[in-house]
Amino acid sequence: MMRFILPLVLFLILSVFLYKGLGRDTREVPSPLIGKAAPEFQLPTLQDPAKQFSPKEMLGKVWLLNVWASWCEACKDEHPVLMEFSMQKMLPIIGVDYKDKRDQGMDTLKNAGNPYDQVISDADGKVGFDYGVYGVPETYVIDKTGIIRFKQIGPITPENLRDKLMPLIAELQAK
């Protein structure tokens, strides 16, 4: 008798796991870069190609690196969240315009607003490659010593901004 009930029991156990999995945030995937120094680069800013940006400039500050593009649909969902967050002036937000045409990137910021303190133009996806970007948008929290502390894959939502990012940023800034 028992062996005929076994499939049902196994299935019910599986269902419990599936149920627990429903609330799971699959976007939060550990990156091998967490706990390591943010890769170095030197790239022109979006607005002024003559001006260069490098992560070295940010040493001593906790900062956010946000990878976006004008062709990215999910970034449009994220944009208003970033706009609101930037008003709080909690920390510098650096944008990376990833594999994008310069004028299209600028158009997007002109139309939808610019939440970034600086925007870097990464037309060839060089930074994306070094940082292991595999879907735009992605966001990195980098601490005062230039170490990557957190990576968010996919758009930042008001909830995970409030529950994850802001407590982490406050903790890192206090150090």
Binding site: F17, L18, G21, L22, T26, D124
Partner: protein, 672 residues
């Protein structure tokens, strides 16, 4: 107004499906002819209204009605016509409607081709399918209505994901869904048999052709998806063990076990409860796949946008359907009793072992796929397993399976003496072994490759293929040797025998493809200036630069690579880097020159900044890669041949089936 008609049709279809489910199952339990009589008309009605809804959505796409939210999200006025049609199943809501449509097609087919079946069996089968359809229609109406309006209408649509704008993707989802949904027929037959308490060989005979048809569709669907990944993703891979790929692979493995198990149940009356469990399992995994793809519990390149309400609904549906089936199984199966007895070594035991191996393979894919979910729920952090895990479990399971697959068709039913079987196969096996061990020494030279080392895995792969081919030859020889006209004997073999052998040969061809690609592929990622050449695998690739080309809804950087061999021009390849106008999303289009023994594969990486037109170029030579899909096609054709067997002709009288079918089946097993 028209989209609302579609919405309304879905509501009517839901009403019909629910009525079908309740009335016909009730009718069968109470043996009421009147109630059972409504099953067929209701199944047709359900089909008509779901088809109507599908037609309405198709009309909205073809007429660019951007006041329908789903159309505005997945189409665009620039999108070429055939993709506008395929965009119907380009997102969650529409693909769900396709699911529901195909399920109603299967139900209507069962209603049509079941004239010879007992009335209460038909009523139960259609009733079960009606309940499943009701579940999906309810899901659509409550959480995923494709007809929701967008007011005011969008000026233009957001466009179909460029990855999906491809001929392969036009037919891949319908094929795959035909397979997924088709397993519902075998499932419905199994549930009806459990409900009716009659778990004899007859239900197996009735559900066999349906199961094989579903399996054929699924085989083609998976092969198409894999082929698409090969040429569209630009990495030259053909299987990534992605959760969504696994979602289709698990029911395929169990479905493969099911078609073999059904054969034993039909012919020998054995494995009765096991076969029922496999039928429930194959469809449950189809449903589970739907859950995994649409609930957002796993990350995948294929996932549809997720919404927690949807996940809850499908999970609830899954628990009700699968839980109820397994409960029914636990209640009814113990009364079935054991079927025909068989010895430790017999065709039954070989088939049973392979059934177990296929089920274990399916379970290990399930565990690997859900591993991140388990670990997260148990608090071990976010971990996931990749291709190395799947390869590590899969190869050891497949080796004994292939070995027994060769023996199976040679062994007798019920009892087979080991020395007898061994003496039949020894020369075939020895031949396969010798060739498999020696061939890798010279293969590198034959293919003029740089790497030509002998490796264990290559020899093993070749041994598996040659063993299948050898056993096939032995089996044919047994059947065709002796007195009598050769051609006549060739004709006398049943189509299902040829079908089985063709499908098995397909497995051999598939294994050759996998082994050769894994063992001998050449992959070069290089930076190439205009005019640069690269020598690889006896070919010389010359990069002639990239020029701008305008497509219907994209602009493309089209590269030109000429390939020479021994100074002669072989081909000119045109890999592309497209940027789609509306979404602005970049897409890589590899350019491939296919060949029987190798593919030349070139795709464009990124342009090298501050250079004079230089690009990162990926140049691959993939020996025997097309054999992978040829093997799948042969398996599918084998299935088609098996269905064409006269014993399954639908117009044949039920009496003739019940009588002759079993006898013919038994005789066929006892050749020699």
């Amino acid at each position: 107004m028209i989209p609302e008609l579609g919405h309304f049709s879905l509501i009517i279809a839901l009403f019909l499906a629910t009525t079908l489910g309740v009335l016909s199952i009730l009718g069968a339990q109470r043996n009421s002819r009147a109630l059972m009589g409504v099953a067929r008309p209701l199944a047709y009605g359900m089909f008509v209204f779901v088809a109507l809804a599908f037609g309405v959505l198709a009309h909205a796409f073809l007429s660019n009605d951007f006041s329908v939210l789903y159309v505005a999200q997945h189409s665009n006025s620039q999108l070429p016509g055939q993709y506008r049609f395929a965009a119907i199943w380009g997102g969650h809501e529409g693909s769900l409607l396709l699911w529901a449509l195909l399920l109603s097609v299967w139900a209507a087919s069962v209603a049509t081709f079941s004239r010879h079946l007992p009335e209460e069996m038909v009523a139960r089968v259609l009733g079960v399918m009606g309940l499943i359809e009701a579940g999906f229609l309810l899901f659509m109406l409550l959480t995923s209505n494709p007809f929701t309006r967008l007011l005011p209408a969008a000026a233009d649509g957001a466009d179909l994901n460029p990855l999906l704008q491809d001929p392969g993707l036009v037919i891949h989802p319908p094929m795959l869904y035909m397979g997924y949904v088709g397993f519902s027929v075998a499932y419905a037959f199994a549930i009806s048999a459990l409900l009716g308490g009659k778990l004899d060989a007859t239900w197996a005979r009735w559900s066999r052709p349906w199961t094989t048809v579903a399996w054929v569709f699924m085989t083609i669907g998976i092969a198409l998806g894999s082929g698409w990944a090969y040429y569209e993703l630009g990495w030259g891979g053909w299987w990534f063990w992605d959760p969504v790929e696994n979602a289709s692979f698990m029911p395929w493995l169990l479905g493969t076990a099911l078609i073999h198990s059904l054969a034993v149940t039909e012919k020998r009356g054995a494995f009765k409860s096991w076969t029922v469990l496999l039928a429930i399992g194959a469809f449950s995994l189809s449903l589970l796949g739907t859950f995994l793809v649409r609930s957002g519990v796993l990350t995948s390149v294929h996932s549809f946008a997720s919404d927690p309400r949807r996940g809850i609904f499908i999970l609830g549906f899954l628990v009700v359907v699968v839980g109820a089936s397994l409960l029914l199984f636990a209640w009814r199966a113990p009364k079935v009793g054991l079927g025909g007895k068989f010895d430790m070594l017999s065709r039954e035991s070989l088939l049973l072992s392979n059934n177990v191996l296929l089920s274990v393979a399916s379970a290990s894919v399930l565990i690997g796929t859900l591993y991140p979910l388990f670990m997260d729920a148990l608090g071990y952090g976010k971990l996931s397993v990749g291709a190395p895990y799947f390869q590590a479990v899969f190869v050891p399971l497949m080796v004994p399976m292939v070995f027994m697959m060769g023996l199976g068709p040679l062994a007798r039913w019920k009892k087979m003496a080991a020395p007898d079987l061994a003496s039949r196969v020894k020369w075939g096996f020895a031949g396969a072994l010798v060739v498999a061990l020696l061939l890798p020494f010279t293969m590198g030279k034959i293919l003029s490759l740089e790497s030509h080392k002998w490796s264990f895995l290559i020899a093993l792969g070749l041994l598996m293929s040659f063993w299948i081919i050898a056993s096939l030859v032995i089996s044919l020889k047994q059947r065709l040797s002796g007195e009598g006209d050769f051609v006549q004997k060739l004709r006398r073999q049943s189509p299902s025998y040829y079908g089985m052998q063709l499908a098995h040969l397909g497995v051999a061809v598939f294994i050759i493809g996998v082994t050769m690609v894994k063992g001998y592929e050449t992959e070069r990622d290089v930076r190439m200036n205009v005019g640069d050449t690269l020598a690889a695998g006896g070919y010389e690739f010359r990069f002639n630069g990239v020029s701008q080309v305008t497509g219907p809804n994209y602009v493309s950087g089209m590269g030109s690579v000429t390939v020479h061999k021994d100074g002669r021009l072989v081909t000119e390849l045109h890999p592309e880097k497209r940027v789609y106008n509306v979404s602005g999303m970049p897409l890589t289009e590899a350019s491939i020159q296919p060949g029987l023994f190798r593919d030349l594969y070139v795709s464009l990486g990124e342009p090298i900044p501050e250079s004079d037109g230089a690009w990162a170029v990926r140049i691959y030579i993939k020996p025997f890669v097309d054999w992978i899909w040829a093997g799948c096609l042969m398996m599918a054709l084998g299935g088609v041949l098996a269905i064409s067997d006269r014993r399954y002709r639908i117009h044949q009288k039920a009496v003739a089936r019940a009588g002759n079918g079993t006898i013919v089946g038994n005789l066929q097993g006892q050749t020699s």
